[in-house]
């Protein structure tokens, strides 16, 4: 066991801290394209979202290992440096680089499976926040059983003509592009009949309709396709290989949903809140039943954080087996956050339910908001029940549920 990163990394940490000092209080010129839960104080340091992306890329604090020719920093991938950047930014309340499905899922996919032209065309604007992507996977009748999707693509005169419907499409209303799974080979077996297409959102026949979720804030969409026509070349991989291409990115999403540092910060905010709030004049933190539950949650968060360190270690030390430790992160991380946010609502009682711009609102209503949002994250990206199937089948080697004939 050795938890030191070594002198080289401590130097790097100092460098990042300097950077954070320089940009303390940085603000954006207009509302960020992707909704963010952080709020920033008013200072003179104002940049646009895409300027901020460029600043971070030039420093090597974002897109580190992506080659320069595609708009990245052109360095080596370094998980420890990424970790240091994330934790220093979070401590200093400096906005992190943009995430989103283009950056987290499409870019890795393109780097792995895209053609040279596609990499040149799409990666740079995506990294710089100039090209926002949405993900067209789920359909009304293809959720957990995603491979049964029915949106149809036919190749007619050198163009894909697409008809059908997608749902749960986050950020579609802001996006310039969609990466989309479409059934192009209707006669093939279900997993073999799908292609991975790249669709400009301003194409004629493409209709985005907002789907309001329970938070009334974050906003999914439904996307309808009526003879949407795009060039034949807007495909990653070959016809019928879309399922494999998509699976290369699903792994990225599961990893990116849960940040242990954020969870630790959240517990600390809850502790602060429980020192301020009172019930019958007593501080919440002095009330034994709340205190006990708080300690139980803090312990759980500590276990999750230690588990993440172990997973990080396996990325640095080849041969360290942490298969199950990695596999459980999505399930454990989202359930834990939901529990934590919900507990905060409970300790505040009626005040915990206040929302939007209500009088007596605490912490911008973030506890109630995140309590609901994390329910969405428990369901999205592979529900907790699907996660349990994966853990039991791939982790514990338990048999699959027998297939129903003809499906």
């Amino acid at each position: 066991m050795d938890l030191n990163y070594g002198p080289e990394y401590e130097e790097f940490r100092k460098e990042v801290q300097e950077f954070c000092k320089k940009w303390d209080g940085v603000n954006f010129t207009k509302t960020a394209v992707v909704p963010m839960s952080m709020s920033f104080k008013e200072t003179g340091k104002t940049v646009s979202r895409s300027e901020w992306q460029s600043i971070l890329i030039d420093q090597g604090y974002f897109a580190r290992s992506i080659p320069k020719e595609y708009g990245g920093f052109g360095g080596h991938s370094d998980v420890i440096k990424n970790r240091i950047i994330a934790s220093e930014f979070s401590n200093a309340k400096i906005p992190p680089a943009m995430g989103g499905q283009g950056i987290d899922m499409l870019v890795p996919t393109l780097l792995e499976l895209g053609t040279e032209d596609q990499k040149k065309q799409y990666i740079k604007p995506t990294l710089h926040g100039e090209m926002i992507w949405c993900q067209g996977y789920s359909e009304p009748n293809a959720g957990s059983d995603l491979a049964s999707l029915q949106t149809k693509g036919e190749l007619i005169d050198g163009n894909w003509v697409i008809n059908g419907q997608k749902i749960w499409t986050s950020t579609a209303q802001y996006s310039q592009m969609m990466f989309c799974l479409v059934r192009t080979e209707p006669d093939a077996q279900k997993h073999a009949g799908i292609s991975y297409l790249l669709i400009p959102m301003d194409t004629v026949g493409l209709d985005v309709r907002p789907l309001v979720d329970m938070t009334l804030k974050s906003g999914f969409n439904e996307v309808f396709f009526t003879d949407v026509t795009i060039p034949e070349g807007n495909i990653i991989g070959k016809r019928g290989e879309g399922w494999a291409v998509a699976n290369a990115t699903l792994g990225h999403e599961r990893g990116s949903l849960t940040d242990p540092n954020a969870t630790v910060n959240r517990v600390n905010s809850l502790i602060d809140r429980m020192k301020e709030e009172t019930l019958d004049g007593r501080r919440l933190i002095d009330i034994p039943v709340y205190r006990d539950k708080l300690m139980a949650l803090q312990a759980k968060v500590m276990a999750f954080q230690s588990n993440s360190l172990r997973v990080l270690s396996s990325k640095l030390n080849k041969g360290q087996d942490t298969k199950i430790a990695g596999m459980i992160q999505k399930l454990v991380g989202t359930e834990l956050r939901h529990e934590l946010e919900g507990f905060a609502v409970d300790v505040m009682g009626e005040i915990g339910t206040l929302y939007e711009d209500s009088p007596n609102l605490r912490d911008n209503g973030s506890w109630q908001f995140l309590y609901m949002l994390y329910l969405g994250l428990i369901i999205g990206g592979g529900t907790s029940q699907i996660q349990k199937n994966i853990i039991s089948e791939r982790g514990l080697g338990m048999p699959r549920e027998p297939k129903v004939q003809g499906v």
Partner: protein, 362 residues
């Protein structure tokens, strides 16, 4: 940066596991707990002592192996996995820690050297410091110790005993000294020994540094808690393995029960609850060895969290075995009961969580 057990630790752990598989099968464990296999228990004991268990935490200058708590934690996982009938937590972990941190030079020489040779062995009664129940109390005055310790670990084969009063002072007595009365308790877990001890004006050797400092008592209890947590992890892992194995063999409705999602999800829940516990307990042991500032909180949290997780696993793993899980024949209950006692010993979860809150000045 490397977060995990070292090759040496894993190798040693595997040796202990293999030794227990060979020497301490379920039949042997059952016979020992029924009081029918005293010889077998002695052999298991001396086998584990030969592997070095009694000397792990004793500094090299006193003839020990001078290893750290993380090493002892790794070993504890194996002992829990094999429900090993051995006095590990009290005799081999808490006692050496108490003397190393609380003894004068002379006291260390006197006790640690003989402990490393396994010619003396300690039972440990610190419950009255952690939280006195049933009016039990220990009083140390004028080199005499009196009172009643309710839940003493590993006293059965001990030549010596140590107790703590409510201030954290630790007193050592010989088990056969006049005025010592040892009453064997019967807990659900019969793989280890638990005793009530009455002391009536017994000659005591107070560990010198513990008169004015709580460092030794805290170190000993923190270490003991981490070790008990690791024991429960080992026991829980064995229960999950058994449940998964059973579910792949047992058939109902024409399929193995392990193909039903109701059963699979129970197994997935057990494993995803348990997996972070490994990292947590190693982390706690690492802090114990290297960052004293964080060690106490982490030891508390590791103990209470693992206790909660193991309790749930003990229940679910038994359920996966169906009616057979409830029988002595299948023997799942040995792990269930071991976990049950680990949970209460050295502080039940709520007691330990209150300590965790106080450590943070809440």
């Amino acid at each position: 940066m490397y977060f995990g057990l070292s090759e040496d630790q894993i190798f040693f752990q595997e040796n202990v596991t293999k030794f227990l598989e060979d020497q301490a099968s379920l039949d042997v464990i059952r016979a020992i707990t029924e009081g029918d296999a005293g010889e077998a228990q002695k052999e298991i004991n001396s086998g584990l002592v030969n592997l070095g268990l009694s000397a792990l935490l004793i500094p090299e200058e006193f003839g020990g192996l001078g290893l750290d708590l993380l090493f002892a934690t790794a070993v504890s996982q194996s002992l829990g996995g094999g429900v090993a009938p051995i006095s590990y937590t009290g005799s081999f972990v808490m006692a050496p820690l108490a003397i190393s941190h609380g003894g004068s030079k002379k006291q260390k020489e006197k006790y640690l050297t003989k402990m490393s040779e396994n010619s003396i062995r300690f039972g440990v009664g610190f419950s009255e410091y952690i939280g006195a129940r049933d009016g039990s109390a220990i009083e140390i005055k004028n080199n005499k110790i009196s009172g009643r310790a309710l839940f003493v670990l590993d006293a059965q084969d001990a030549s010596h005993l140590m107790f703590a009063d409510s201030s954290g002072a630790i007193g050592v007595v010989a088990s056969d000294a006049p005025g010592v009365e040892i009453i064997q308790l019967t807990a659900v877990d019969k793989t280890r020994s638990y005793s009530e001890i009455k002391l009536n004006n017994v000659d005591v050797d107070v560990l010198e540094l513990t008169i004015s400092s709580k460092d030794a008592i805290n170190k000993s209890i923190d270490g003991g808690r981490i070790i008990l947590a690791a024991d429960s992890i080992g026991a829980s892992q064995r229960l999950i393995d058994k449940a998964v194995e059973y579910s792949k063999e047992r058939k109902q409705f024409g399929r193995v029960i392990g193909s039903f999602q109701a059963v699979k999800h129970m197994c997935a829940e057990m494993t995803s609850d348990l997996e972070p516990c490994y990292a947590m307990v190693w982390h706690a042991a690492h802090c114990f060895d290297n960052s004293p500032g964080e060690a106490r909180l982490m030891a508390c949290h590791a103990k209470s969290h693992v206790s909660d997780i193991s309790k749930t696993i003990a229940k679910k793993a038994t359920e996966v075995h169906g009616g057979m899980g409830f029988t002595d024949l299948m023997g799942v209950h040995y792990w269930f009961k071991r976990i049950g006692v680990n949970r209460q010993a050295l502080g039940a979860p709520e007691v330990v969580r209150e300590e965790a809150a106080k450590i943070q000045n809440f």
